[in-house]
């Protein structure tokens, strides 16, 4: 396959996300302009100009009308996707690390960083149907004691919020009461990404401890574990095949001090059930920071420390690949 290279960002990518229809790809980077691209041909539709610092995370509503971005300039902004106009800005005390729209797009959360004497705080805000009515009201704030939050997403039916922490724990919160429901130390080092399956029954968590786990969202128990020899910065699930993709590489600051052979900045495909590595896609010149699978499962994208996004439309032979155990055609009919 021939990947499409998107080089609209001046600095390393922090997050890429497809909208629910899969026609748009949103990207945030450490430069201050998140971008939106057509995922089919890599054409850039526009940039969202207005932030003054690195943009750490973004999320888009289910109907693809609004985009929310969290930035290190102590703001969280909501944008109109089709015009690039900023419709609302939340001012925060510290940098915004993670943002996520709830199912139904009636509320959203953003997490502020634990810096400058502040604790990591989850802010749950209502999202008005008409952005003109949007106010700075907050439904609930949850102050997170302990390790800093690195990622946060809504769980199944908005009944939970799942956060990943710098010490490798994954915590589940009750968004209505603000109580901590459960917590599980699944990783040894910082969690870098959490991506849910489409039905939110399980999620992939990736960590700097060189592993990624497929975790049951009800019990937070690790169901499958994928071990690599490098820090994993992002992991995503294929919506179509029982495959997961892991991306990583060492920290950018360590690249020059380690041997050249170790720098394999590849997206690595693993079989979700057998936990075997089944394929690799080369391309980036730096660690992969963020990965996203197209909702149809027919393409995936990776964003790297090198500032490039690579959109891969998967070849037909990828979909034909099967383990012997996965071939049910020759089973006797019941």
């Amino acid at each position: 396959m021939r990947p499409i290279l998107l080089h609209g960002h001046l600095r390393s990518l922090t997050r890429i996300r497809y909208n629910s229809d899969g026609d748009l790809l949103f990207s945030a980077s450490k430069d201050n302009k998140p971008c939106v691209w057509y995922s089919a041909n890599g054409e850039r539709l526009g940039t969202f100009n207005g932030h003054n610092g690195a943009v750490w995370d973004l999320d888009v509503t289910h109907n693809s009308r609004y985009l929310m971005t969290g930035s290190a300039d102590n703001t969280c902004k909501m944008w109109e996707v089709e015009t690039g106009k900023c419709v609302y800005t939340w001012e925060t005390r510290t940098a915004v690390r993670a943002v996520s729209f709830a199912l139904g797009d009636e509320k959203a959360l953003f997490v502020t960083d634990a810096t400058m004497g502040q604790q990591s705080t989850i802010h749950i805000v209502p999202i008005e149907a008409d952005p003109e009515d949007q106010t700075s009201d907050v439904l609930r704030t949850i102050v997170v004691t302990g390790a800093k939050v690195t990622v946060a997403v809504w769980g199944n039916l908005n009944r939970t919020i799942v956060t990943g922490h710098e010490d490798g724990t994954i915590t589940e919160w009750n968004p209505d009461t603000g109580a901590k429901v459960k917590s599980s130390k699944n990783h040894e080092k910082a969690i870098t990404d959490i991506q849910f399956s489409a039905d939110k029954s399980h999620f992939m968590s990736s960590s700097k401890d060189h592993t990624a786990h497929l975790t049951d969202s009800k019990t937070l128990k690790v169901m499958k574990s994928f071990v690599t020899e490098r820090p994993v910065n992002s992991a995503c699930l294929s919506p179509l095949r029982p495959h997961v993709v892991l991306g990583g590489g060492q920290d950018a600051m360590d690249v020059t001090t380690t041997s050249l052979k170790g720098n394999k900045f590849e997206s690595r495909f693993y079989h979700a059930v057998f936990e075997d590595e089944i394929g690799r896609v080369k391309g980036h010149f730096g660690p992969i920071n963020t990965l996203a699978f197209h909702p149809s499962g027919r393409s995936f994208s990776s964003g790297g420390e090198d500032g490039f996004i690579r959109v891969h439309h998967l070849d037909e032979d990828y979909f034909e690949f099967k383990y012997d155990e996965e071939n049910f055609d020759d089973l006797p009919q019941l």
Binding site: R2, D23, K33, G46, F269, I278
Partner: protein, 290 residues
């Protein structure tokens, strides 16, 4: 200076450009004349195959397809902008149930077997038959090598490629360094001077070596390796480089383990077009030994 036109400028002057020709195979050839960056007139011929892919999408996607661009992209016309979008090199995603084949650095089963064979071969000192290298033998200066009996066998054993690094390391150790050529003389006198470690079996002069010439300047060893990997296992790939510029001098040597592989390589690569040049491949002439 005369203003006389070059003969090349007269060619096809009557034609009207840009011109578009519909080919029989459904492609279209577009020829146009443009003035390039150096101010020179150049003729550009592009062959295009247009493939229309129709797909049904939901109305929201169809509407979004026609949005006006905004932000830094405002004013750009429809279609990918070359400043921000380009095509990468073709990458392959080879799916395989076994992870070992994926990693090209992991040696194949055959290589692993060879390695295992080397690991099992015992190191035996030529002087005292102890399990160390001859150069490290404590009796090196006082004893003569055991010439009789298993001498031939033991010397073969020692001179495996695995020994190269270790004996080199030994040379830097506390023992006095004796050049390989002197070792036989000092010890026995009758023996012909030893070759460098790696002789006999591992000597690459005895392995089939192919000389590939007419390589382009920017060829690297990795390029050559990629080129010849399909012919078989190689023990060495070497590209001659200019000392000052570090560019390729136009030729290189590839040593195969198997003569058959080398022959296949020669038949395939002799006359093969690579980087705009026609390669020539032949068996390398062996160095003349005095």
């Amino acid at each position: 200076m005369s203003t006389k036109q070059q003969w090349g400028d007269d060619v096809e002057e009557d034609d009207v450009y840009p011109k578009s020709i519909q080919n029989a195979d459904g492609t279209k050839t577009i020829i146009k004349i443009i003035i390039n960056d150096d101010g020179k007139k150049v003729k550009v011929t592009t062959k295009i195959r247009t493939k229309t892919v129709k797909s049904q999408v939901n109305p929201a996607i169809a509407r979004r397809r026609n949005l006006r661009k905004f932000g830094d992209c405002s004013g750009l016309k429809m279609g990918p902008d070359t400043d921000s979008t380009s095509f990468g090199e073709i990458v392959s995603l080879k799916m395989s149930a076994s992870s070992k084949v994926l990693d090209s650095d992991v040696p194949s089963a055959e290589e692993a077997k060879k390695k295992a064979a080397l690991a099992n071969s015992k190191i035996m000192c030529r002087i005292c038959k102890g399990d160390h290298f001859t150069a490290k033998c404590p009796f090196k200066d006082s004893h003569q090598p055991l010439l009789a009996g298993g001498a031939g066998e033991s010397s073969f054993r020692e001179e495996t490629p695995a020994a190269i690094t270790s004996s080199a390391a030994a040379a830097g150790g506390p023992a006095k360094y004796v050049p390989p050529g002197m070792r036989g003389n000092a010890a026995g006198g009758a023996r012909e001077g030893n070759r460098m470690p790696g002789g006999r079996e591992g000597d690459r002069d005895d392995l089939p070596t192919v000389r590939i010439s007419n390589l382009s300047e920017d060829t690297t060893e990795q390029d050559v390796r990629d080129l010849i990997v399909r012919f078989g296992h190689t023990s060495r790939v070497f590209v001659a480089r200019d000392r000052d510029t570090n560019t390729c001098k136009g030729f290189g040597y590839v040593t195969f383990y198997d003569k058959f592989d080398a022959e296949r390589c020669i038949t395939a690569l002799n006359g093969y077009g690579y980087d705009n040049l026609i390669l020539s491949a032949e068996f390398a002439k062996t160095k003349q030994r005095a």
